[in-house]
Amino acid sequence: MIIFSNNLFASSIKQADSLFSLGLYPDACIAYERIIYEHPEDEFIKANALLKKSYCYKAERNYLLIDNLLNRCNINGLNDTFKSQILFEQAFACYMNEKFSLAKSRILPVFNLNTTPELEKASVFLYSLILNELNSWDESKKNLISFIKRTEIKDEKLRDNLIKEVDEMYQKKNIPKIRKLKFAKTLSFILPGSGQAYSGKAVKGLISLSLASLAGAFTYFNFVDEIYSSSAAGLFFFTYFYFGNVKQVTPIVNKRNTIKKNKCNAILRTQLINLNKHLDNDKK
């Protein structure tokens, strides 16, 4: 009975794989789902079919559905290689969907599993990409260097060169200085416009300082001249400009940090691809 069921599964998965290789992804998705439907008790078959279905979504660049799809797998009863494949695909989909913290939580367990060298390498590189997006460049560098040190490389010179390459990639001058939002806000509280200037927007800072100063001066001189209603209106404008200046800091800091981070990570991505190629060449 078991042999018959296994044969049935093997032929069904073969048929589904043929659909996949022909690029008939929606048909392949249905075929994989049918396999799960016909083997409801078997967690291995279910996980296998779901993993292959996730490849269909990946081929269609439909990363949104992959994490939820693979959450249907009960990975506890699976072997380490299989478990790590599923976790890797989930992490990759989360990375592509820009859910970096979730991607990190998905990829970390892979490093505690006995997996294939190829998947381990892919996981290390994916983890570095995720860490870059989470502004943890130091951690990303350590992750790469420790991988290069422990991995099998025929040419020892190449190992030293790769470590040097990583060191250069993550040099201080290449990593953007992330502006601290709390500090920028505190600066703007103390002196209107200084938080903007700290975030690289000196003109905006100067405008904020001028508006708040003008409103303050207007309030003061009207008060001295005993024109109290104008003084009250001036006070209203002063508080408006003062708190507006503090509020303005958040989007400025966030935008500045995002631009700098994206620029740096785009370069790092290219460099990581090159690093990966060097490792592949060594194996050949």
Binding site: Q15, A16, S18, L19, L22, L24, P26, D27, A28, C29, I30, A31, E33, R34, Y37, L65, N68, R72, D225, E226, I227, Y228, S229, S230, A232, A233
Partner: protein
């Protein structure tokens, strides 16, 4: 091409078992695989082996799954294909009406339901139809039609009596007696006392805020006029600001009358819509 076709047939079992296919679709629905349901449902509908009854069941099933997934356009597409010989026909009819209502297309909801021929011997179905048509007449603001349909209301029907009473005594009454407030009068009131027009329209919070704003700017202009004179730039700026806010308060009152009226109508419409859905859900439970 023939190779492609033969491969695409792998997604279906070699011997076609309709019950099993429906069960498979249900399994896909339970696992939230809506894209697969759409794709495979369309494929199954194009099968040549399907008889009329099977097509009806499939259309109903796909319509209902899309209804649950809030895809009302798709749901209407499938539900409207269920033939009048099918046992699912009444349910499809009423749920496709709900879909039109959810899309705020009351006109088509009314016309489609009116055209439907339901079992004349089934008193409950006929009463449900009259009730739904009456509710749709209210949503279309066709009070004459509502009057003629509400005569048919049967208060002994447990499923409908509560909603019928609400429709007749509350929603219909509220719609007919909704005070038609004059935007001109609201504007005039705000010209005399800033904010009063907004209070007349029914927005007391905004009325108070408008009064304080205009009064503060008025006080500012008066003080600068007295202390600095009419040619002083400070007076000119504050007077301009005052005029701007004063005129804005009048214009705001004029608009507010219409906005508040629309909000009240929307609230009544929402209540009617919920009232139309409840008996259908109870009836076809």
């Amino acid at each position: 091409m023939s190779l492609l076709f033969s491969f695409s047939c792998f997604a279906q079992p070699s011997t076609f078992d309709f019950e099993k296919e429906l069960d498979f679709l249900l399994y896909l629905g339970q696992n939230g695989q809506h894209a697969d349901i759409d794709f495979y449902g369309d494929k199954l509908l194009n099968q040549k082996d399907l008889n009329k009854g099977q097509k009806d069941s499939l259309n109903f099933f796909l319509g209902f799954i899309n209804f649950k997934g809030l895809n009302y356009d798709k749901s209407i597409k499938f539900l409207s294909k269920v033939s009048d010989e099918s046992m699912f026909y009444p349910k499809s009819t009423f749920y496709s009406e709900i879909c039109f209502i959810e899309k705020h297309d009351y006109f088509n909801a009314y016309n489609n339901l009116r055209e439907v021929q339901l079992d004349k011997n089934n008193d409950l179905l006929q009463q449900l139809k009259s009730f739904e048509l009456a509710g749709l007449s209210l949503l279309n603001r066709d009070y004459k039609s509502f009057d003629s349909l509400s005569v048919l209301f049967n208060t002994n029907n447990i499923i409908l009596s509560n909603e019928q009473q609400l429709q007749k005594n509350e929603y219909y009454y509220k719609l007919k007696h909704l005070k038609r407030k004059s935007p001109f009068f609201a504007g005039s009131l705000s010209a005399i006392v800033p904010g009063l027009g907004l209070a007349y329209a029914g927005n007391n919070g905004q009325a108070l805020a408008a009064f304080i704003r205009v009064a503060a700017l008025g006080a500012l202009s008066t003080e600068t006029y007295i202390k600095l004179g009419p040619k002083n730039p400070q007076f000119i700026i504050s007077a301009t600001l005052f005029s701007f806010f004063y005129l804005g308060n009048i214009w705001g009152s004029v608009l507010c009358v219409q906005i508040i009226k629309n909000e009240k109508l929307k609230e009544i419409d929402n209540n009617i819509m919920v009232g139309l859905r409840i008996p259908i859900d109870n009836f076809f439970k």
